[in-house]
Symmetry: C2
Amino acid sequence: MEELFEYLARYSPLSEGSKRAIAKISQELHIRKNSDLQPIGHTCKTIYFLKKGIARIYYFKDDVDITESFSFEGHIVVRYESLFTGKPSKKGIQMLEDSDVIAINASGLFKLYDRHRDIERLFRNIFEAALIDQVNRIESLQFHTADERYKALIKDAPDIIKRAPLKYIASYLGITPVSLSRIRSLR
Amino acid sequence: MEELFEYLARYSPLSEGSKRAIAKISQELHIRKNSDLQPIGHTCKTIYFLKKGIARIYYFKDDVDITESFSFEGHIVVRYESLFTGKPSKKGIQMLEDSDVIAINASGLFKLYDRHRDIERLFRNIFEAALIDQVNRIESLQFHTADERYKALIKDAPDIIKRAPLKYIASYLGITPVSLSRIRSLR
DNA sequence: GTAATTTATTATCATATGTAAAGTGTTTTC
DNA sequence: GAAAACACTTTACATATGATAATAAATTAC
């Protein structure tokens, strides 16, 4: 659990009691490469922290597999639109490598908000940071070319090329694998 | 202020004392059509509630004016990436009509969090909802055609066509005005 | 109210990306 | 380790969108 608390401490401090409370509603999981951490159709009731490994959130649009986002070790994975609405998500979470994950029970966490104000504040800060990330992603999608987005991705996460199949990277960039191949062949 | 409190009540309840505290750090403004509520380059230190009128968040990319988002009466406008980082925003907020706005001082608001837990909780809820909106916007930009995005926009906000210049709508959709003209002429 | 400016449309041509199909290389399965 | 499945690249052609320019329509300024 230590990695998780190091991550959380980056957002705001937690009392020892709050840490114990979070530990109590969390459990460590090992997930095999290519298997689903959460399948499509389930309601998101868990906040996952990636200790080791890399994940993607994906869904199907007209039978085409679309990668909405990648998440790396040392970060959390959440399907916000399901977690905060309580509705089933049409998105799944798949691990792209054999992975170690800490699963935090979300309804348990939200209950802790009342008695542990530092926890509520901490997760408010985490979700505010996530909001910033999403705004920046929109900017990237709205007015950068596919080529620019690809360059930005490999700058941001150079090892993504080695760790995720190009077909997933392509749909993440909003293009087809064929088009990504073309972009890559220009270098 | 009543419209503001009706809006806030949709997210979670506020005590009378909390309402008074918010009113104290808020002020009503009248803004002329086409003028900036917040110019580019300023740090976002205010959360605006639109009583009447319509706003856009915009910025310049390579001298081209880009509309990042529209906001309508009965909703708030915030440049999250600046509000939560404290960094100057490269985005401005412009009113597209003569407008009535309630300006909530953000640092004043954040100070209220300590003594008014209902306020912290309320704004956590508001920002969580904003996070959902951004996730959905990403999905729209990532895997819908410009034509689909245009249809979705007029379904979502039919009067946007009458109230915002098409050039702004075009850049919001991630296309040029010429391309938007083409899309529109197909109907 | 007229002139000047801005906004929107249309046409033409260029470019980027999509689709489909074929071929090559890699991984998985038994 | 061979066969099958999958991933990636390349080519050819189709389509959508961009860039530019000309024109028309609407708005703004005086």
